[in-house]
Subunit: 475 residues, 2 copies
Amino acid sequence: MNYNKVNKFILSELINICGEKDVIVDKKRIIDYSHDEYIKPDENTFPELVVKPKTVYEISKIIKLANRNLIPVTVRGGGTGLSGGAVSFCGGILLSMENLKKIVEVDKKNFMATVESGVTLQEFAKELEKHNLFFPPKPGDEYAMIGGMIATNAGGARVVKYGTMRNLVRGLEVVLPDGEIINVGGKLIKNSAGYSLLNLFIGSEGTLGIITKAIISIMSRNVNTLTILVPYDNIDSAIKTVTEILNTKNVPVSIEFLELEPILLTEKLLGKSWPVKVGKAHLMIVIDNKCGECVNEQTEHISEICNNNGALEIFVAENNVKQKEIAEIRSNLYESIKNYVVEILDIAVPPASIGDFVNELHQLEKKYSVWLPTYGHAADGNVHTHYMSGKYFNGEIIPVPENEWRSKRDLVVEEIVKTGISFGGSISGEHGIGVTKINFMRSMYSEKYLDLLKKIKTVFDENNILNPGKMIPSL
Amino acid sequence: MNYNKVNKFILSELINICGEKDVIVDKKRIIDYSHDEYIKPDENTFPELVVKPKTVYEISKIIKLANRNLIPVTVRGGGTGLSGGAVSFCGGILLSMENLKKIVEVDKKNFMATVESGVTLQEFAKELEKHNLFFPPKPGDEYAMIGGMIATNAGGARVVKYGTMRNLVRGLEVVLPDGEIINVGGKLIKNSAGYSLLNLFIGSEGTLGIITKAIISIMSRNVNTLTILVPYDNIDSAIKTVTEILNTKNVPVSIEFLELEPILLTEKLLGKSWPVKVGKAHLMIVIDNKCGECVNEQTEHISEICNNNGALEIFVAENNVKQKEIAEIRSNLYESIKNYVVEILDIAVPPASIGDFVNELHQLEKKYSVWLPTYGHAADGNVHTHYMSGKYFNGEIIPVPENEWRSKRDLVVEEIVKTGISFGGSISGEHGIGVTKINFMRSMYSEKYLDLLKKIKTVFDENNILNPGKMIPSL
């Protein structure tokens, strides 16, 4: 596809639509929009300009203009992604959703809220708290915007009990490439009327249409929470515990798997203490309930299962301060290794295979003499594995010579991906494909499968102006 | 589209593929395949022949043959549908899945089972019982097949707690119109790699590909169950109760809404007794739990809510025999009115609007002097409304003169549909569109929306051989 550049005429049209204040052409200001939490800004990541529309109608006009003039449009939420999905790699218009910030309605009777795409998770949580309500997904960054979370089908730790975005999104308002505004789904629990366009837009990473508004399920808050830390001397015992816990009557909110090295680095980074020092493989189990007694009963039951499976100890954090400290360390694991992260993978395998998968990762570490810190959502089979330009040694990361980590990079990452796929896994459990995983799509899917994705893309966006170069290889 | 007829050559090819035994050409035997639970057999509902393949490879060959020769293929599961989706209205090949009956695997570690499409709900439940496991969807007919349930995104009463098919299907094996076999999804809880073809096939009613095998979530059985019947003298109080119950810490398995007249007819049909005779609007609430104590606690809490909202009485069925009798009456409501049913609707509205919706239906009953028996899944906002060729009088159905019910039919049904849509509802909550609701698609969706559905259909099935005349108007 040959795209056009934004010329003076188009720029003045955009200013007509959004107002001068909301069209950014200054490179120094554009830099904020030229990266995400993984991709760093460089000469390839700058859009030609940034627009910040305030309404769906402005967006409709922008898209129509871009489509008519063959100008790429990259939509951006909070920019908290890890796969470059919201970064423009082919110039054009970057469409920031930051001004679509209305929480239109909190419907307590239907347990659903209607929110614009630019509302951050933090803002939404704050509003819901007023009503003693709760929206479970927790992708690790409170500045993630609802639209971006839908576009990547985000998940996070609480999926065990509450599901991914896909399970919670009920309806969407979407601007199509021709500028038409459509609504899919609604305040509905059941809907069997035609193909689910709703579920097609969820996880479409800004390639089919611009999600401007969403109806999402919310729930009443479980006020009693508790965090349990359980160390094991091997991964297999930890994972066996997970399977047995999932078979109990109340599943926990989350069951996270962690290994000691990133924990020690994060303790140091934050100056905080993880209460458990023994064992290589740790489980962090969070439970919640409206009834305090039930929390105690559940804790007892889970402890019993942990003990039967060789737990080295069981640490129960009941008070809020301690729970928060543990959660903070868990949330900052990535921060503690970030400077040395070369690639981030978020492979999802069948939950019961997570132990074998992590064991194979450790085999790869030995085989290639690399460090692959891995942690994440054990009960969903979804862990985060990092290819590093450093190695862990005695509470620190020691840099590896650049030629060494560069020479092994593709080999090791490919082996990790193939290993995940060999377990029947997905190359992305929650981050989306973006640009960083686009080349692995061919490892996961057949030509036929990819061809169907391409054709579906064309149904919606025949000029391929929406987020080109993302998700589907060679489009 | 001009289709071809099945000629001698194609017949002999089909016999080559499936064996003579599994190709039916005898009209007397085809009659069993020429109807569903709503559509009655007539000269328009007969396929030219029925094939009963035993493997996915046979299906692939059949589809390829049909596609090459432009012969329509209608796929059929248990034939328990209510919208004609599995009935052939344009001749061609009827592809019965009844021989794909393998329960391939019950994976207790991942809480997932792999089953072929022709497995009935009854067979599946029986197998799972051996492992003390459980598959919640309950579409009202135990002979429904897994493939058909996926193809219509079936639900039933237990959606409140356990979700619809869409929430439980993890992976599919599908034969595409060109004969290619693809796998979508897998034993995965999280997957953000590309558009969700999985969710596109779910609810596609045999129009995009033939679903041959599925990976579905299963769960451990909650052994303690209990049924509560609560009569009210008006719908609004009943529905207010539902909203409040959904706000409690453990949601019930199901909250069904029933009105007295169909109950009385079913009592008579079965010779069984519904324990509650007062009040016009009844709630039937089923709860389950692994812990008996919790069931009692939950019952107490629910009873309190019911009393606060004007319950006329509260009947609790603890023993299995009584629970089964109540469930049997609920399951046979349709049987008791079936002979007079002209149209069945399964509109879903936002759950909190269900009371207002049912009240409007009663207004329509008065306005047109018709009887519109309505009952169903209150907590999901999904009720079944029937346009009848009879009226209820004193424990019986009295026939209405044919010219009378015929003359009002379209008018009343259209008003019901429009009323549902005016609440933000869907024209089908769980039965699918098939042929019976195809004309309402234009009331629910814009031309643009329908155009997207058509184009998606074409991506998969450019010759429109799969289940033509279904779901999407004027295709």
